[in-house]
Symmetry: C2
Subunit: 216 residues, 2 copies
């Protein structure tokens, strides 16, 4: 009985890692759709979100079942409640990837992002993907040391976002209002994805160490 | 013993209502700061967010304590887990009010919102405040019927957001990039506040009825 219970806890962890992987793919594909103006790819990100939502429901039901039936003690209780909260965050990250794909779709056959801003957006996406990859690793291995790297990556994301505002509000900006609005919102979406990654990593650190992480 | 436990559950409910009220005030004050270009008022919204965060921590610790010590049965267990998730949503809503205040502060002594867009932003804020007020009522009274009104208000919010894009991407837009970017982000913040209000109301409906709400 006890073993079956541990297996179930492990399976929740595996599903969280899977959810992270699906979100990472959504961000990656949404960004590709955006930078290539690829409507089909954008559509497939939008429809694949149902898979993330289905996994959310599965994880919620499973976590709840264990909470109800097993009267878990402190550590497992914390883990199950944390997983319910992480699930909400992953779902939001998936939605944000959908928002990116929708901006791509809205501008097809054009590309929403002017050429000179492509490297900045591509970098934001790359940082976000690396961060989600680290979250997968942190959850799978309870590797709390890796959470520090996530905070560093988040600082790069903040800096990229500040740079993007400098670019689109600067005197050199010749692309007008529409791309500026798109880029401001895209920056917001990538930034929020990164914030959620940090938040999830902090939850794992708290689960493993019992301490809320403090970084200088 | 049993009565003390019920009192504690009631006190969690009261604190959730209080958290909603603080968030509503933050949205109201943040909007006033924005539309009047009032730096002091913006600062006070930004610093008052610590109060929301403190209430979040209090509620999390209290909910967790009850989860750990009382082995709550199905209904109470759901209520406590839901309250932990609602707390996260209220905290985010507070953060979004801070973002609104920060846009106000950034543009002082100017007003970020051009005159002709003021009514639209004021209406978004009013809809958001009404929605948060309804959430207070729904939580305080388990009044699930009122949740339908929230969905209607959310539809108005979506419509306002679409109109705002039409305005700032239209040929008549003469205010340039910076106010357009501000308004796109402000619209996003109010829309997210509204989304969280709907999400919280749905959680209450599910707690009370055991059914996930479906609205036509």
């Amino acid at each position: 009985m006890r073993d079956a219970y541990r297996d179930q806890l492990d399976s929740i962890r595996d599903d969280l890692v899977m959810m992270a992987r699906l979100v990472r793919e959504a961000v990656s594909e949404g960004t590709a759709a955006l930078l290539e103006g690829d409507a089909l790819r954008a559509e497939s990100v939008i429809s694949a979100d149902a898979e993330i939502d289905a996994l959310r429901i599965k994880l919620e039901e499973h976590s709840f079942e264990l909470l109800s039936l097993q009267n878990p003690v402190a550590g497992d209780l914390r883990m199950l409640v944390a997983s319910l909260r992480m699930v909400s965050e992953f779902e939001r990250m998936g939605d944000l990837a959908v928002h990116i794909a929708k901006i791509a779709r809205l501008r097809v056959p054009d590309v929403a992002v002017p050429d000179k801003v492509v490297p900045m957006i591509a970098r934001m996406a790359a940082v976000a993907e690396v961060m989600i990859g680290k979250v997968e690793h942190i959850i799978a291995n309870s590797d709390v040391a890796a959470a520090v790297e996530l905070e560093e990556a988040d600082q790069e994301m903040d800096k990229l976002r500040r740079n993007s505002f400098r670019e689109l509000l600067g005197a050199d900006w010749t692309h007008g209002v529409e791309p500026a609005v798109d880029i401001a919102l895209l920056g917001r979406y990538y930034e929020r994805i990164a914030d959620h990654a940090v938040s999830i990593a902090r939850r794992v650190v708290f689960l493993v160490t019992g301490e809320h992480p403090q970084y200088a």
